[in-house]
């Protein structure tokens, strides 16, 4: 037994797998299962923190699984990007895991919620850490299958419908992904990302055009998973359906895995002469931002508004990536970190609002800003901070994330363009990004006014809103009074949002250094392919 760097790189994948297995074993004892699940989440958080601290200086840690060295065996790679994403996963696991204890119907918890939750975490961490394309596909499938069951858990027409739409459209993405992997393997004879990158970058070798097509196919598959325009339909069709804890974890992490894969592919694998791909990505990013926010404007259901905002925010990240300067990519990753925390938090608050007021319809909601009850101020704080952060108000994290991307765009305008982006397009992109920020603020204010400040109406079950007795969650027959512990995960996440805003300077600088490293793919390749035994 040695607790070396190899162990730490494997740990974020292994811990949730072990936790999930233990949760399956204790399926009959709900209390014990909840305890195991919580402890597992906390250990995952701790391990991811240690991993990030280990690689924070710019080292790249690898683990050659089964002791088969790259490019033959599967390798897990933790660089700064992967480790910071794993830490965010750990934070989400701990907070949303805690939230789920009180907010997921007891029957759903007993029929496998916790083990599926941890399988999902294993899939997400695996996707962030893997250095092998086929292994990435496998992790995507792990995520897809566990999220399918999580979506459908509890049954009901709305949930099953959402789950079927989600799985069908994601399977199309998986098919494209798999075909691209096949073509790539046929052309290059390897699926190790570092090795693929090295072979594509080798100018002396003759590369068939189909390998480039395959790389573009990968990008299409990741774009579908990330939910960019025009491949986002599955997202708003399914994210509002499941229990709030489930949709929070989906909203926070799943689309970001797609964005992460896009960033990894563009920086590592995409050959340097394929700038046109980045140009297309930039316009896709702009369209995604705009369409997403417009979609949100017409929605009147709490979580549907938020779902369309996910799409809009993904647009920012894609745009940041497509600008392709260290500043912009660093800001895009910071944006991703900010968004994972803030967006998950908003879904948690939506769940709490539904629990307390009995509805998610913004027209029927109202009166949550209620000073008569002790929870009034807490739910307001829990909503206000992430919402305003999302809208980009200083000094919260969303402001600096958008600022970084806008500065990246303006830098391109100043320098007279990059190979992928001419100054006029960059200026248009910056303009649209600003406009979208304004619309985001509008949407958040809409929820703020409708759900919080509008006079309270009758609840769906006839009780006046604000009565200190929440609606029983479906299938949970015992109505329990509102507890402070319900708000703790939200408040912790709101705290993280504030801290990320206050320390935006050093964090952004760190991310920029990370992006500089990403734009030098030789480092990653050397780290993975070093020590290859003959």
């Amino acid at each position: 037994m040695t607790f070396d760097s190899t162990f730490l790189v494997v740990a974020p994948v292994a811990i949730p797998l072990i936790t999930a297995t233990l949760c399956l074993f204790t399926a009959r004892r709900l209390r014990l299962q909840q305890l195991i699940s919580t402890i597992g989440s906390l250990i995952l958080f701790g391990a991811s923190l240690v991993l990030l601290l280990g690689v924070a200086g710019g080292e790249i840690w690898t683990a050659h699984l089964s002791n088969w060295h790259a490019p033959i065996g599967i390798v897990l790679v933790a660089d700064r990007l992967a480790a910071s994403m794993v830490l965010l996963t750990g934070i989400c696991a701990a907070t949303i895991g805690f939230f789920s204890l009180s907010q997921v119907a007891a029957r759903d918890q007993a029929s496998g919620f916790h083990s599926l939750f941890h399988f999902l975490m294993a899939g997400v961490c695996g996707a962030f850490l893997t250095g092998d394309l086929f292994n990435l596909f496998v992790w995507f499938e792990v995520m897809l299958l566990s999220s399918f069951v999580l979506l459908g858990l509890g049954g009901g027409k709305k949930r099953i419908q959402g789950a079927v739409k989600y799985v069908t459209l994601n399977l199309i993405g998986s098919a494209i992904f798999l075909v691209s992997i096949g073509v790539l393997y046929g052309q290059l004879g390897t699926l190790n990302m570092a090795d693929v990158a090295a072979k594509l970058a080798d100018e002396s070798a003759e590369i068939h055009g189909s390998a480039i097509v395959a790389v573009v196919g990968l990008l299409v598959a990741f774009a579908l998973k990330a939910g960019v325009f025009p491949l986002f339909f599955w997202l708003p069709a399914s994210y509002h359906a499941p229990s709030p804890a489930t949709s929070a974890i989906f909203a926070g992490l799943l689309t970001k895995v797609g964005v992460y894969a896009l960033i990894r592919t563009c920086t590592l694998i995409l050959p340097p002469d394929a700038e046109v791909v980045l140009t297309v990505l930039a316009w896709i990013g702009v369209a995604t931002m705009f369409i997403g926010v417009m979609g949100a404007a017409v929605q009147i259901e709490f979580r549907k508004v938020l779902s369309f905002h996910i799409i809009s925010q993904i647009g920012y990240m894609v745009l940041g990536l497509a600008i392709y300067t260290p500043l912009a990519i660093g800001a895009a990753v910071y944006f991703m970190a900010h968004n994972i925390i803030a967006k998950s938090n908003l879904f948690l608050v939506a769940g709490l609002a539904r629990r307390i007021a009995g509805t998610e319809d913004l027209k029927a909601l109202g009166g949550l800003a209620n000073a008569k009850y002790w929870w009034g101020p807490w739910i307001m704080i829990a909503f206000f901070i992430p919402a305003m952060s999302l809208a980009g108000l200083p000094p919260l994290s969303g402001f600096f994330a958008k600022l970084g991307i806008l500065m990246g765009g303006l830098e391109v305008v100043e320098q007279g363009g990059t190979p992928s982006l001419d100054p006029v397009s960059a200026a248009i992109a910056v303009g649209v990004a600003l406009l979208v920020g304004l619309f985001t603020l509008f949407s958040m204010i809409k929820i703020w006014n409708e759900a919080f400040w509008k006079p309270a109406k009758q609840r769906a079950d006839g009780v006046a809103i604000g009565v200190d007795r929440p609606t029983p969650v479906a299938l949970d027959p015992r109505p329990v009074p509102v507890r402070f512990s319900w708000f703790v995960p939200s408040l912790v996440m709101a705290g993280i949002t504030v801290v990320m805003g206050l320390f935006a300077g050093p964090i952004l600088a760190w991310y920029e250094a990370m992006a500089t490293e990403l734009l030098t793919p030789e480092l990653y390749r050397a780290a993975v392919l070093q020590g290859v035994e003959p």
Binding site: M1, T2, D4, T6, F7, V10, A14, L17, I18, A20, T21, L24, F25, A27, R28, A63, H64, L65, S66, N67, A110, S111
Partner: protein
């Protein structure tokens, strides 16, 4: 489905399929076969039994719930992944250097190691999952309500 031909055939075939699935599992180390395909074959036999005698009879025959089979398989797979690490600090899933060869007769031998453990885990996992959902669907079809938790 009540058919004397089918029911007498499945009684003979199911044990054969179970034995063949173990053969496939053990053969999988360096020839075509392995846990996945073995597990499918095992599940096919039991599903055939369920088709003829009903899912309730198949559950009785199995003694444990299919879900427990999944759980145990998963546990075996995860544990065997860590064996190399516990013994020698090797990376996850390492088998190299942890093989034990048992000579059965002059020509035949059995190699036991972590990757066989992993394969057994996969075998149980696949068999268990297939049975879980097939039995559930058959019960939903015939209106039998079985609570499993």
């Amino acid at each position: 489905m009540r058919s004397i031909i089918l029911s007498s055939m499945i009684k003979a075939l199911m044990p054969l399929m179970a034995v063949a699935s173990v053969f496939l599992l053990l053969r999988g180390h360096d020839e075509p076969g392995g846990g996945f395909i073995g597990g499918l074959l095992l599940a096919t036999g039991l599903v055939g039994y369920a088709v003829v005698f009903g899912p309730v009879a198949a559950r009785t025959l199995l003694h444990v719930t299919p879900r427990m089979v999944v759980t145990i398989g998963l546990a075996i797979a995860v544990i065997s992944g860590w064996i190399g690490w516990v013994i020698a600090g090797d990376p996850f899933l390492t088998s190299r250097g942890h093989w034990v060869t048992i000579h059965l007769t002059a020509e035949s031998y059995l190699k036991i190691g972590p990757s066989l453990g992993f394969d057994i885990g996969v075998y149980l996992l696949v068999a268990g999952s297939v049975m879980t959902f097939v039995f559930h669907m058959m019960e939903a079809d015939s209106g039998i309500e079985v609570r499993e938790s």
